[in-house]
């Protein structure tokens, strides 16, 4: 009898050995990806594999939304129509004022010798996946490098800043939301003009405004908009509303908690602003009065 042993008995290394090997491999991958970022080509390839599945996975949702829109009653459509007409009227009035202001602003800018602010190119994209990782707040949109999206571009919706593109794949890109723990947005208080940086907390719907002096003029309800000093976010986009301000006499700083104005649970359509980073810089670099600094520098080095 010379029977082949069944595959059940033909095992390679023991299970524990294999498991330990794969876990070690995983740890190596984790460390390499987190520290050195050399695995970007691997990530891009995997993203290409995933893209068709991700595009497919949004179809059921889109179908549900389409069906929902279809069966909407006439009454709700009429109400929508009336509301939109009103909004359009308001917007047209506002837009006329804005045109005037823009013209005036460009005149003033020219007078002040400031560089014209680049008009951002808007790319509309819809969310195809909302991350499930409790450690980071990320969403994936259905547009990528192929549509001209680059990492670092700010992302907005109709109400304000949503986040920033952190990874751009060929067909999809990944957006880190303002509520992510690692995300910071430079803002300005509309009421007082106070500049600050708002940080994500990792909790949905909660932003933190740290390092504000205990006597800083911040009140509940204050609107925070982007200040534009970072050169990434264009100025004037709504980011958050101050929700609570706590003063503790034992602490040098006030505890300011804000609520973001946008939420991915509310909106599936997003806009990616693509502006060349140098165009975003409002101020021209300080012009040296004389060409002297060059020779001065040389002198310093030698």
């Amino acid at each position: 009898m010379n029977e082949q042993p069944h595959s059940f008995f033909r095992r390679g290394p023991r299970l524990v050995v294999r498991a330990v090997l794969f876990i070690l491999l995983g740890v190596c991958v984790l460390a390499t990806d987190a520290r050195y970022g050399v695995l970007t080509p691997v990530r891009n390839t995997l993203a290409m594999v995933l893209a068709p599945l991700q595009y497919g996975a949004r179809l059921p949702r889109d179908a549900v939304i389409a069906a929902d829109n279809y069966v909407k009653t006439l009454a709700s459509l009429e109400a929508d129509n009336r509301r939109l007409r009103q909004q359009l009227h308001m917007a047209s009035v506002r837009s006329e004022t804005q045109q005037q202001l823009l013209a005036e602003n460009s005149d003033l800018r020219r007078l002040l010798g400031l560089r014209a602010r680049g008009t951002p190119k808007l790319t509309a994209a819809s969310i195809i996946y909302i991350g499930n990782d409790p450690f980071q707040h990320k969403v994936t949109i259905g547009k990528g490098r192929a549509s001209g999206i680059v990492p670092g571009s700010p992302v907005i919706d109709d109400t304000g800043v949503v986040g920033q593109v952190t990874r751009a794949y060929t067909l999809t890109s990944e957006i880190t939301l303002v509520t992510d723990r690692d995300q910071a947005v430079p803002v300005q208080d509309v009421r007082t003009g106070l500049r600050a940086v708002v940080f994500g907390t990792g909790e949905p719907g909660v932003l933190n405004l740290p390092y504000q002096a205990a006597n800083a003029d911040i009140r509940v309800g204050d609107q925070l908009v982007t200040s534009g000093v970072d050169g990434i976010y264009p100025p004037g986009l709504p980011v958050a509303t101050v929700q609570s301000v706590e003063h503790n006499s034992g602490m040098p700083f006030a505890r300011v908690v804000c609520r973001p104005v946008t939420g991915v649970d509310r909106n599936l359509a997003l806009l990616v602003l693509s502006v060349a980073p140098d165009k975003l810089l409002e101020l021209e670099p300080p012009q040296p009065a004389t060409p002297a600094p060059k020779s001065k520098k040389k002198g310093h080095h030698s």
């Binding site: 498991a19 995997l46 991350g131 409790p134 990874r167 723990r181 990792g202």
Partner: protein, 173 residues
């Protein structure tokens, strides 16, 4: 020979074909990528972990650990988390399930579900550990709610998928 041993022998003689596994994993991955966040009160299900668990328990020798590892890499890209997070969790889950395979299949649906509950809890703990290494944890109830939810899927899986497998690939399933 007990019925369990007979079933095991039957299963080993007639394993589910490779295209069946591919289809199951593909469907599970697709299920994970569906936008579940509209139902905010429900935690996001992890069908891929469930599929890996099922085939690791019922077919411990035909799926190498490289498969859950690579599927984990895909989930890492989808989630935008550090590469390796899901890979370690899925490879660990598959290895534990393969090791416990003979034990788990001895039990009825309810006791199996208890084992599955423990394995999913382990999966979550590994994810928590890796996430905690890269930053501070901020865990909601929904994070843990996924464990009983996926365990509750196990009897359904046994009743549905296993019955179909049994009809096509012999009484071992």
């Amino acid at each position: 020979m007990t019925t369990n041993a007979a079933q095991l022998a039957e299963r080993l003689r007639h394993p589910a074909p490779r295209h069946m596994l591919l289809l199951a994993y593909g469907l599970a991955l697709f299920g994970n990528l569906l936008p579940w966040s509209g139902l905010t009160w429900l935690p996001q299900p992890d069908f891929l972990a469930l599929a890996i668990l099922y085939f690791s328990v019922y077919q411990p020798n035909s799926v190498p650990l490289a498969v859950p590892f690579c599927l984990g890499l895909l989930m890492d890209v989808a989630e935008g988390s550090a590469l390796g997070t899901h890979s370690i969790a899925y490879a660990g889950l598959a290895a534990s399930a393969q090791g416990l395979s003979l034990r788990i299949t001895q039990f009825g649906a309810l006791a199996q579900t208890m084992h599955v509950l423990a394995l999913f809890l382990g999966l979550r703990l590994v994810e928590l550990l890796i996430g905690g290494l890269t930053g501070e944890a901020n865990i909601s109830v929904r994070f843990w709610l996924m464990v009983p939810m996926m365990a509750a899927c196990w009897p359904l899986l046994l009743a549905g998928l296993a019955r179909r497998l049994r009809r096509e690939y012999g009484s071992g399933w």
